[in-house]
């Protein structure tokens, strides 16, 4: 080389700067960020006791309606032993209290935002919008993302409870930070029971168990650790069931019904039992299936609900059965995300009533009677990442806002039956797509029949990598409702749009009943 020593020194100065300055910047950025809790500090799986959230009681009832009050407020919880984690909970509980209602009785739920003015780590103002997922609520009570309630305000949500019995859930849907609000704890089950389900001899009472499954990561100070992986998803190294890391539950030697809600921000699961025993799926998002489906394993995306019956009756006392997760692709996995919880079989005596699964559950569910031939048209939803943004048919919620909420992807008339073809042309992502208001039936996936566990009424569909899924639904209701990916990071950034069910009269606007400022006034 024809460079002198002096030349080399000059080049060394600029070369050293080019190498060292970016490295120094990366290291200092990482040190100013949250420090992730070492995996050695995490609890060992199956060392903590299982628990279920308490049931919320109405504060007032009348002939037609049950009235509830829920206060969103901060709390400190010892999720990881020895550390305090700041969380937000409905009534200060994570997960929030379960609501149990009977079909036909209306619910009015007052949601009071008593959250602080700023998130303790992420500094945003935590406005909220509460969505009852699985309810055909009027648009102004559906948790429309832009219909927000700021700290210091409240809103009364009205739920009709006219649909078939099912496992619903209420969770935050506030614009721009749904993922963060839900990760902080704003999620809970809401169970609607109907006479058909009550009449079936399936497990009930203490043998009907809610499992709200989520995942989280923790910082070294105990607070939640936030990393959305360039807006692609949040994946924790701790699997929580009803807020407890990898709990262990004592079970009696009989059948149990588990209402499994995947309340994770982004993670999908594939469940199986380490004993090799099957599980019987009896219900999906929108209630009982026509017939039970017995499976060895099944895939479960965010926001989907599957109710399964597990029979511990033939297992010996002392046996431990582990609910495992064989992670579907494109999740980020850690050492113990392949396990969820354990069941320890005990010798306690038990009630032998309601200990069977009949061959027919709900063969006349209206959504499941629809066929492709009933549809008056087919529409397509394309799920794509475009210019760094997650989009539906190229649109984001920002586009909806900029259109003054006039932009819609579809405008069926009330009562129309339509096929929606949802296409994910990417091999790098999966999208659990939620269509508000309606129950639908999955017709096919890439031209093949739906998986056995999906043969029930749904309101979320897992659209996997390079999959095209067709669903059929009747559009009953009026007004504008959201469609979005239920990977909440995708939803926030900004894979959310809307459709409008057209009717000649009495169409409500989603923003027509805004929140009120505290103090509360009992005017409902």
């Amino acid at each position: 080389m024809s460079l002198s020593r002096r030349d080399l020194m000059k080049l060394g100065v600029v070369g050293g700067a080019a190498l060292a300055l970016p490295l120094e910047r990366t290291v200092s950025a990482k040190s100013s960020a949250q420090g992730r809790l070492a995996s050695s500090r995490l609890p060992r799986p199956f060392t903590m006791q299982f628990r279920t959230p308490p049931v919320l009681r109405p504060y007032r009832t009348d002939a037609t309606t049950d009235f509830y009050k829920v206060y969103m407020k901060p709390l400190q919880a010892e999720v990881v032993p020895g550390l305090q984690t700041p969380l937000w909970g409905y009534n200060g509980l994570v997960p929030g209290p379960t609501v149990k209602v009977a079909q036909g009785r209306r619910t009015v739920m007052r949601q009071v935002n008593n959250l602080p003015g700023k998130h303790p780590v992420l500094s945003y103002t935590p406005w909220t919008s509460v969505h009852l997922h699985g309810s055909p609520s009027l648009p102004q009570y559906d948790g429309y993302a832009s219909d927000i309630t700021n700290p210091g305000q409240y809103k009364d949500y009205v739920y009709p409870n006219t649909q078939t019995g099912r496992t619903l859930w209420y969770h935050d849907h506030g614009l721009h930070h749904t993922a963060e609000n839900v990760l902080m704890g704003l999620a809970a089950q809401y169970q609607l029971v109907d006479p058909l389900e009550q009449a079936l001899p399936i497990p009930k009472g203490e043998f009907d168990v809610p499992l709200l499954v989520s995942d989280a990561m923790f910082a070294s100070d105990g607070s939640l650790y936030f990393d959305n992986h360039s807006e692609s998803g949040m994946f924790g190294d701790v699997v929580l069931v009803n807020g407890v890391p990898w709990p262990v539950m004592k079970v009696k030697r009989r059948k149990y019904r588990f209402r499994i809600l995947n309340a994770s921000i982004s993670r999908s699961y594939q469940w199986s039992l380490d004993s090799g025993d099957p599980m019987t799926v009896i219900a999906t998002d929108a209630g009982l299936m026509p017939q039970p489906q017995t499976v060895q394993r099944f895939r479960h995306g965010a926001a989907e609900r599957y109710e399964v019956v597990i029979d511990f009756g033939k297992m010996p006392v002392g046996r431990r059965v582990v609910l495992r997760n064989t992670s579907p692709k494109n999740n980020i996995d850690y050492a113990n995300t392949n396990k969820v919880m354990a069941f320890d079989v005990v010798a306690d005596d038990f009630d032998r009533a309601n200990n069977t699964v009949p061959d027919a559950l709900n063969p006349t569910n209206p959504a499941m009677l629809l066929t492709a031939a009933d549809a008056v048209r087919t529409r397509r939803l394309d799920l794509k990442r475009k210019h760094g943004m997650w989009t539906i048919n190229g649109h984001t919620w920002d586009d909806v806002v900029k259109s003054k909420f006039s932009l819609v992807e579809a405008s069926p008339r009330e009562g129309d039956v339509e096929i929606w073809e949802i296409r994910n042309s990417s091999g790098g992502w999966f999208h659990p797509v939620h269509i508000h208001l309606i129950d639908f039936r999955i017709l096919d996936r890439n031209g093949k029949p739906p998986m056995p566990h999906e043969l029930g009424p749904k309101d979320v569909v897992y659209v996997g990598e390079n999959e095209t899924v067709r669903v059929v639904a009747r559009f009953e209701g009026r007004g504008k409702y959201m469609i979005h990916c239920h990977n909440l990071v995708h939803e926030d950034h900004d894979m959310m749009s809307q459709f409008e069910v057209l009717a000649d009269h009495d169409v409500s606007d989603p923003m027509s009943d805004p929140c009120k400022s505290l103090p509360e006034i009992d005017d409902v």
Partner: protein, 205 residues
């Protein structure tokens, strides 16, 4: 195979020693080495182009254009680059190194996460203030990112690429005529010193 083309003579009336071209038996090998390093950098740019394209299409296109330029340079150096093009190659390579340093220290103003900053949208790709009735800012700010969200972190491929580019730059500077080499060396020294001074001011004040 041709050999490296070099300036054939000095201009009349110039300092012969200062304008003397780099010569010697190792020059062709030096050019080929620079070409090989440029090729490595191009391959890295090609490898990361798809993910950048998925994130923000203009970034992916830019990386493909850069890779094409570096591949062309690599083959030209291998075949015997016209000496007139060596300063341009130095400029291109130094410019890419400068762009890399900027993107990993202060961020580039054309990054999608900063595209809205001039519009008062808080650096977000959302319309930050377009929330009817919203109090305050609803956009979460992850610690360690915030306003610096457009600054990329350094990864292994980044290091491979920048080391290759710095090596190619040194070899290309070595191919310049002595006077040009001195000027370019002084310029690069000044840029490097400025970088260190700015870093020191930011770091310690």
């Amino acid at each position: 195979m041709s050999t490296t083309a070099l300036p054939s003579s000095s201009s009349p009336g110039t300092d012969t020693a200062a304008d003397a071209v780099s010569t010697g038996p190792g020059l062709a090998a030096q050019a080929r080495a620079a070409g090989a390093l440029s090729c490595i950098a191009a391959l890295v740019h090609l490898a990361v182009a798809p993910e950048h394209f998925a994130e923000w299409a203009p970034a992916g296109v830019f990386l493909i254009v850069v890779a094409a330029g570096q591949l062309w340079l690599a083959q030209a150096l291998w075949r015997g680059l016209s000496a007139r093009l060596v300063p341009a190659a130095v400029l291109l390579t130094a410019g890419l190194v400068g762009l890399y340093v900027a993107s990993r220290t202060i961020g580039l103003p054309v990054h999608p996460d900063t595209a809205g900053q001039g519009l008062g949208l808080g650096g977000s790709h959302h319309g930050g203030s377009q929330v009817p009735g919203g109090h305050g800012n609803g956009m979460p700010i992850v610690p360690g990112s915030g306003a610096e969200a457009a600054v990329e972190t350094v990864g292994t491929l980044d290091l491979v690429c920048v080391v290759a580019e710095l090596g190619a730059l040194a070899l290309l500077v070595g191919m310049l005529p002595v006077r040009q080499r001195r000027s370019v060396g002084n310029l690069l020294l000044a840029v490097g010193l400025c970088g260190w001074v700015v870093w020191g001011l930011v770091r310690f004040t």
